[in-house]
Structure formats: structure tokens, C-alpha cells
């Protein structure tokens, strides 16, 4: 079957088998390997991308289900050379060790901050409860997301003052 979907703002299309999973469409068909393919059972969240603005596990979503829809992956977080505050936060607070869970973590974190720009620790931990970090670096991941929240708030205030 033929599918077409907007991925990170760009139109993509391909001839695929209906059983192709979205994670493989992104990684293998489009070559967007920022999205990681982990447990394959919708537990680990490494494959988290946005579908129409909501985080979903792309290992448990058919590419066919995204046909005609909008997908956003970790490759779209940075604006050119300028990192998203979430990416910056992971850097500043050492929010990653091996880095495998990071793309999914950051897509979940970005969605959380868009919805709730000032989440407390409990809210952050609940939000990332579908993203597993096998390095168990949760302390720093939570700090990284708090860093992003505080940083983007300051940034917004500075921009408003200009």
C-alpha cells in the first residue's frame, strides 16, 4: 500500500507492506535513526515519537495508521544549531549515560513541557513513567527536564522584555 505522512514538517511517502511498523518506516524507509527501536513490546518507550502532537510508541503503531497524519521525531527538536531547552537540559544536567532512551525521553519531556511548562518532580516522574532508562539515570533526567522548564521560562521572560 502507498502511505504519505508529514514527518518533521516534510511530506514523505512510500510503498509499504501494511504490517510495517512506524518505527521501521522512520528508521529504515526514511533513514531517521534518531528514533530508537528498543523492546518491541511498547514497554520501554525508546521509540516514542509524536503522532498528531501526542507521544506514542512507534513500535506499536502501524505506519499505515500514520498515513495522512503528522509525525514528529527527535530530529525535529533542534532548530538548526539551536538546541531545544530539553536537549540543552539533558546536556547540562548529564541526563544521559548510554543515550539509548534519550530520544524517547526527550520527546516525552517536550510534550510534557508544552502542556505543563512548570511541572514538579512528581509530575515529571509520572510523565516519563513509560520511558525506561536501563542506566537508571532518572535523577539526572528529572533534573534535566526541570532545567529545561526553568530555562525556557527565563528565555520567555527575556524575550517578552525585549
Amino acid at each position: 500500500m502507498r502511505v504519505s505522512m508529514r514527518v518533521n514538517g516534510a511530506e514523505t511517502q512510500a510503498e509499504i507492506e501494511p504490517r510495517l511498523l512506524l518505527v521501521h518506516y522512520l528508521r529504515n524507509t526514511l533513514g531517521l535513526t534518531g528514533t530508537h527501536w528498543g523492546c518491541d513490546t511498547s514497554n520501554c518507550g525508546a521509540c516514542t515519537v509524536w503522532l498528531d502532537g501526542l507521544p506514542v510508541k512507534s513500535c506499536t503503531t502501524l505506519a499505515a495508521m500514520a498515513d495522512g497524519h503528522e509525525v514528529r521525531t527527535v530530529e525535529d527538536l533542534a532548530d538548526g544549531e539551536s538546541l531545544d531547552p530539553v536537549q540543552q537540559g539533558f546536556m547540562e544536567e548529564h541526563g544521559l549515560q548510554c543515550g539509548f532512551c534519550t530520544p524517547g525521553m526527550m520527546m516525552t519531556a517536550r510534550a510534557l513541557l508544552d502542556r505543563d511548562p512548570d511541572p514538579d518532580e512528581a509530575t515529571i516522574r509520572e510523565a516519563i513513567s513509560g520511558n525506561l532508562c536501563r542506566c537508571t539515570g532518572y535523577e539526572n533526567i528529572v533534573r534535566a527536564i526541570r532545567w529545561a522548564a526553568e530555562h525556557q521560562a527565563t528565555q520567555a521572560r527575556e524575550e517578552a522584555a525585549l
Partner: protein, 292 residues
């Protein structure tokens, strides 16, 4: 790498079209909504439908609203929508308490009420919630719609009252005054299936006695996800600790859990007793208007 067996893919944009596609493709066709139960089973080749009919386009079935003295929940309502629903928070707190412990927030963005009920997994939390609340499933076919008592909806593990070329479109629940509800679940780790879980509603009369109640049990082999004998024992009683313990003990005795990697039978029975008592006590406190 886990990949489903090949299948034909169809997409329905209306209930009528979904039903027509089911009729056309026969018994080896399956509806797919969020897919978070069906796709994992297809990857493990435990399910091999020849045709998948994608109903994610049926956004008009994504609603939770009051209609007269009932609450109507559309089959395509996502778990996240149930968790966030102001209507359900007002009338049945059991939903938020159950939803918070169903999988994780990302999975809840996709999984649906209808999908959960129709998957009929014996460990599904919402099945126990609906069994506790006793409502109606609205099932559509080409010839119209029919209502099925939610306690008759599940006919066995992975089996429901939904027939060939039929589709669950809505669940309806009565709004009960002076009512409280609660859900209790014990799991091995966050987001896992229950080792055991129990839900309850309690409705009080003017004297503070239990006018009506419902008990839901999941993952412990309870017939229709409930225990009517325990409900009958408690109806008409004051919701005191002793009466609640007696009903909880009946649940523990009557359910039929199986030993598995989540625990042995006696442990699961013990959990049922504790969780039913807690759910009933909290439901009763809420029915009295106490903060609980």
C-alpha cells in the same frame, strides 16, 4: 525483531463502513483501534487476522458525556481521555484510580475503552471497573443496535458478546446519587498487569446503609469479573468494617486465581480479600462525602 504476519489493511471512516468491511472480510477480520493489545499479540503470532480494519478515523466515537441520568462513553475514547474526564471524576472516581495504573501515559494516549473491553483480556483493569459499575454495552450491526448488560459482555477469556459483523460503539452507565467508588491494584512493577485488583462502588440510602453496590475483580479468574454473592451479602448492611470484611472474604474464597509468575494462588486470594475491603471502605467513605 517482532513483525506481525502479513495482513490486508482497510480503513473505515464510519461505523457503517466498519461493519460493512467486517461483513465483507468475514471472521478472520479484526477491528483495530489503539492496537496496544492486538498488535503485540500479532507480533507474537498469537493473533493472525487476515484483515485489519483501522477505525482510528472514527473520532465521533471519542466522547464522555452525561445524557439524562446516564453517562455515555464512546468506544474510541482513549485511556488518557478517561483519566482526564471531568464527568467521570465527578461521578466515578474509580476510573481515574484504575487508569492511573493502566500501562503508562504514552500507551494511554493510544489505547481505547472499546479496544480494552473487546480484547477481553482476563487481566484488563477496565473490564473489572465496568463489571463493578454494571452498565450497558451498545453493539451495532448492519440491522441496528442492541444493548448487552456489561456483566454479560465477556463470555470467556478473550471472548465477548460482540458477534460477527458487529461493533461495540458505546458504554452507558447509570449515574447514582449518594455514591462513591474506588479502585485498588497490586502490580509487580509500575505499568504492569495486575497480580490482583479490585474495584467497587457503594451507594448509600438515607440511613447510611448500602442501598446498592458493585464489586469488580480482575486477573483472579472471577466469573464476569465480579462476585455477586459478596454483593448480595453486603446489600442492605451498614458499611462497617466487619460487614465489609465478610464480603471481601467471600470474594477471596469464590474467585479462581491461577498460580503463575505473578504469584501463587493463596497469595492472590489474600490480595483479593485485602483489596476488596480497601476499595469498599473507600467507596463508602466517598459516598458519605468524606475526603478519601
Amino acid at each position: 525483531m517482532q513483525v506481525p504476519a502479513p495482513f490486508e489493511y482497510e480503513r473505515a471512516v464510519s461505523v457503517d463502513e466498519a461493519i460493512a468491511l467486517l461483513a465483507r472480510h468475514g471472521p478472520e477480520a479484526r477491528l483495530v483501534a489503539g492496537g496496544h493489545s492486538l498488535l503485540p499479540m500479532m507480533k507474537l503470532r498469537l493473533a493472525r487476522p487476515e484483515t485489519l480494519i483501522d477505525i482510528n478515523g472514527l473520532a465521533d466515537l471519542d466522547y464522555i458525556r452525561t445524557e439524562g441520568d446516564e453517562i455515555a462513553i464512546g468506544a474510541m475514547t482513549r485511556h488518557a481521555g478517561v483519566l482526564d474526564s471531568a464527568v467521570l471524576a465527578e461521578h466515578y472516581r474509580i476510573f481515574a484510580e484504575a487508569e492511573r495504573v493502566i500501562a503508562d501515559p504514552i500507551v494511554r494516549n493510544r489505547g481505547t475503552v472499546g479496544g480494552s473491553l473487546c480484547q477481553a483480556d482476563p487481566s484488563e483493569d477496565l473490564s473489572a471497573v465496568f463489571a463493578a459499575l454494571r452498565g450497558t454495552a451498545v453493539i451495532r450491526s448492519a440491522s441496528g443496535s442492541r444493548n448487552v448488560d456489561l456483566r454479560q459482555f465477556h463470555t470467556g477469556p478473550y471472548e465477548t458478546a460482540v458477534g460477527a459483523a458487529e461493533m461495540l460503539v458505546e458504554v452507558r452507565l447509570p449515574i447514582r446519587p449518594n455514591c462513591g467508588s474506588a479502585y485498588e491494584k497490586v502490580e509487580r512493577r509500575a505499568g504492569d498487569w495486575s497480580i490482583a485488583a479490585a474495584g467497587a462502588f457503594v451507594q448509600l440510602d438515607g440511613e447510611g446503609r448500602i442501598a446498592d453496590l458493585g464489586i469488580g475483580l480482575t486477573a483472579v479468574g472471577a466469573e464476569h469479573f465480579t462476585c455477586e454473592e459478596a454483593e448480595d451479602a453486603l446489600r442492605g448492611e451498614a458499611p462497617a468494617e466487619e460487614a465489609i470484611s465478610r464480603a471481601a472474604a467471600i470474594c477471596a474464597e469464590r474467585c479462581q486465581p491461577q498460580a503463575d509468575q505473578r504469584g501463587p494462588v493463596d497469595y492472590k486470594r489474600h490480595l483479593v480479600g485485602v483489596l476488596v475491603a480497601r476499595a469498599l471502605a473507600r467507596a463508602a467513605a466517598r459516598a458519605r462525602g468524606e475526603a478519601a
